[in-house]
Subunit: 493 residues, 2 copies
């Protein structure tokens, strides 16, 4: 996967890193939509690709992509592999290099820096994936901008907790090459594996959605000593984005010894284009909870981002910089995608006049110019005419000492139209007896306006997530919908 | 000067930072050539500007630029100022901001990223300055590329030893703003002032030509303890470029406690586009002298540099990567200038087919892809058909314990055509009695081929330098020329 980030564009082709956790049907849709000619696959996903190829329509079958298999001597879970897979494989990756490779090959430079370089299907907090196309110019800008903004030193040791198929790992395949970094990969991202890699390899940097931070914070007690006692006694830097991190999670993971940087971006911007630039000693002096609250804000435009604004949906004008008035976050800059593949309509809806990208995220602009996300447009709960930010309710839920994860969605309400419905998992799965939904509702009542308090609160062992660790709100929204409307005066479930 | 790097381009104008150490005649030539409309000047240079304006031809006088004076309450050396200066001044800088400024002003974005942003007159190892024009795009690339390549952390403390009028301080006015750096400025760059600033302000980063490194190394004994005992016990990082640093100087300045990074660029590339990327532990293990020798190589292209090569002047083809065959260094990339102002002929000579910039520097390509400069084209000494690199001879001279600075130029020779002529200053000015030219010639004989040994060696108290600390070889070349040709068998002077 790492090598393809170089070899594929340098051969003049477009790289489409596919999420290996998708199902065969979706993969077949992507292969057809992208018109892929060649698939490079690891044994762990060979069955998936075989099934996907079988699902291609018969006419398309003749044009089915060729399959190159990456042999993996350390991969031992392939006992269940069906031998019938093999006839799909044209050759192995090493054979391809050995037999078809040319050491004198001059890499194919793009005719224009605007030529497409990568295709990324949105991993989907919605169920309809779209093919985001980025050009060489955008990837270059993202790479150098990210290194400069995160202040990545030379020769870091980088742990791949963020998959490379997610917006090309926020450009770090190229970035790590640029600074001479060491790449450490994991078969499976667990807290134990991360702490072991930090101790064994002296990991200095890793990326992940807030769910990864939460996992590390919740599992620190057994292994927290590995961070200071690791091979190198360096701070471990975590860059987080992909969802608004609850301040309580930031505070917990920093208490364990990680140094968190927080930013914001979309697949449509190839990675982070907004960064919560830290104001040094001025903010260092504040109490931990205030620091976490400031760090939970998405931040200011990075150098590659020409402009950002929060606009009123009706008028298109910027909202007041008061930290309260909600609007849609829009931005312009060198990292905005060329567009969605084969979808001019969606492209026109996303990129409007003068190149402004409409992100679909709802936020506020603080007086100091920092943007803070309140919600995805579709996640805003509209209750009796009031807009309720699900993110705000969640951040209070995360503050409860027993809560591991929380997600709030709209549930129909007979009187108010919608009311907040919270899904919560507990840190200690056996604690469900001692902590009740009513306890947690009561915690909310003490900390937010009455109209924002969840009317429904459901305990679940786990919350449904995308492969990149984003909670799938559309799944929860369906669950809440299926519960039927709450009635006036109904008590908590 | 720092503010103008933002305000001038953001008002839609082009910034031309003028070297304040030039004479009035040259400044008047630059003002006329650039068609300057506004001059912002510090009291220390007001007399210079007045004289320059007087030298503008009468017709041009009507179009003479308006003068804005930066008042400086801490500047006390203006007793000699002529009151007649004042009538040239339109208003003071603070008045300009106060009376003409508009807090609601929307800064003027360039219509195209290729629009000119800065004009830099080459400071001149030759005596004919040319006006290098760079665009917004190039300045952006240089800024982020330099931060990423030098791995500048957030909120560094940067000491301005490199003047901002020299290729816009290699883009660090913008770079320091981007990372929230603290800028420390000096009235006059002396070793004592630099060490004092490190101790007082906790300086973490500074830039300078090798002559600055040499100054710091030679004056370390009196104040070396200030580095470890400074306000912050951080390494002080020095970025050097502008001339090939002798390995002996690198070794000395690192012994004092500085960490040196070395790169290469030209005014025509807006700063450093080649960087001696350090190969980590592989090179850390080597003895100090080997490390210094490796670090003295100019290096590999940075991320903003598309390609670099060393080509044969006759054929235009790349020379063998053997570290021996000399050729002209050529490069392409996003930081190459738009061209020379009002000088299409010089532009065409510098930027040739497909955007290759011909640097005029002679170098070799090492087998590992690192470029090393051997000389400026015009500084190569051709003796009996052999090309002698003045830089190579100088690096041996710098190795002599008594030598402070050395410069080698061609002197005519009746038999060989040219022979090396060395100008040397000693660390201890009073040591001239105990160390003789013959001692140093003898040191050279033990360390280089016979034909490279200087036939003439002259002790001087100081070597002539440009304002940016480059030794003015054209001055020395004239001195050597005026000595007349050496004869076969002539002994050392």
């Amino acid at each position: 996967m790492y090598e393809t980030h170089f070899g594929v564009p340098m051969s003049g082709a477009v790289l489409n890193a596919i999420n290996t956790r998708l199902d065969a049907r979706t993969v077949s849709v992507l292969l057809k939509h992208s018109g892929s000619k060649l698939v490079i696959v690891h044994p762990a996903s060979l069955q998936l690709i075989r099934d996907a190829l079988h699902l291609l329509p018969p006419a398309g079958h003749l044009l089915a992509p060729r399959v190159i298999l990456v042999e993996d001597p350390y991969y031992e879970e392939n006992n269940n592999d069906d031998d019938s897979c093999i006839h799909h494989v044209l050759m192995t990756y090493e054979d391809l290099l050995e037999k078809k490779g040319d050491p004198e090959f001059s890499w194919v430079r793009p005719a224009s820096e605007w030529d497409p370089m990568v295709l990324n299907y949105t991993s989907g907090t919605t169920s309809a994936p779209k093919g985001v196309v980025h050009c060489h110019r955008g990837m270059f800008l993202m790479t150098v901008d990210r290194l400069a903004d995160w202040a990545v030193p030379r020769r870091p040791t980088y742990l791949w907790t963020l998959p490379m198929f997610h917006a090309n790992g926020w450009s770090f395949p190229w970035g790590m090459a640029m600074v001479g970094g060491t790449n450490v990969c994991l078969r499976r991202v667990t807290a134990a594996a991360v702490y072991a890699a930090i101790a064994r390899h002296g990991v200095t940097h890793l990326c992940g959605a807030p769910v990864v931070l939460n996992m590390l914070a919740n599992n620190a007690s057994t292994s927290s000593e590995t961070i200071p006692a690791g091979k190198k006694k360096k701070k471990v830097h975590i860059l987080t984005a992909g969802a608004p991190p609850p301040a309580a999670v930031l505070q917990r993971v920093e208490a364990v010894g990680f140094e968190v940087s927080h930013g914001y971006g979309l697949t449509e911007t190839a990675g982070l284009v907004v960064s919560c630039a830290w104001k040094g000693e001025e903010w260092d002096r504040l109490p931990a909870s205030d620091r976490a609250r400031l760090k939970a804000r998405q931040g200011v435009p990075t150098a590659c981002t020409a402009a950002i604004d929060v606009v009123d949906n009706e008028t298109g004008r910027g909202v007041p910089r008061d930290g309260e008035t909600m609007g849609e976050i829009v931005l312009r800059g060198g990292c905005v995608m060329l567009g969605y593949l084969h979808d001019d309509e969606a492209t026109r809806a996303a990129i409007r006049d003068d190149g402004w990208l409409y992100t679909g995220d709802v936020g506020v602009m603080h007086p100091d110019g920092y943007v803070e996300i309140r919600d995805r447009s579709k996640d805003v709960i509209i209750s009796g005419g009031e807009n309720i930010s699900s993110v705000e309710v969640e951040s209070v839920l995360y503050g409860h000492p027993a809560v591991s994860e929380a997600a709030v969605v709209a549930r129909p309400d007979e009187f108010w139209g919608e009311m907040p419905c919270a899904f919560v998992s507990l840190k200690d799965k056996d604690a469900a007896g001692s902590v009740t939904p009513a306890d947690i509702i009561s915690w909310c009542r003490d900390r937010m306006p009455r109209y924002m308090v969840p009317k429904t609160l459901v305990f679940r062992a786990d919350l449904p997530k995308t492969s990149t660790g984003k909670i799938q709100k559309y799944v929860l929204r369906k669950l809440a919908n299926d519960m039927g409307p709450t009635c006036k005066g109904e008590t908590i479930e």
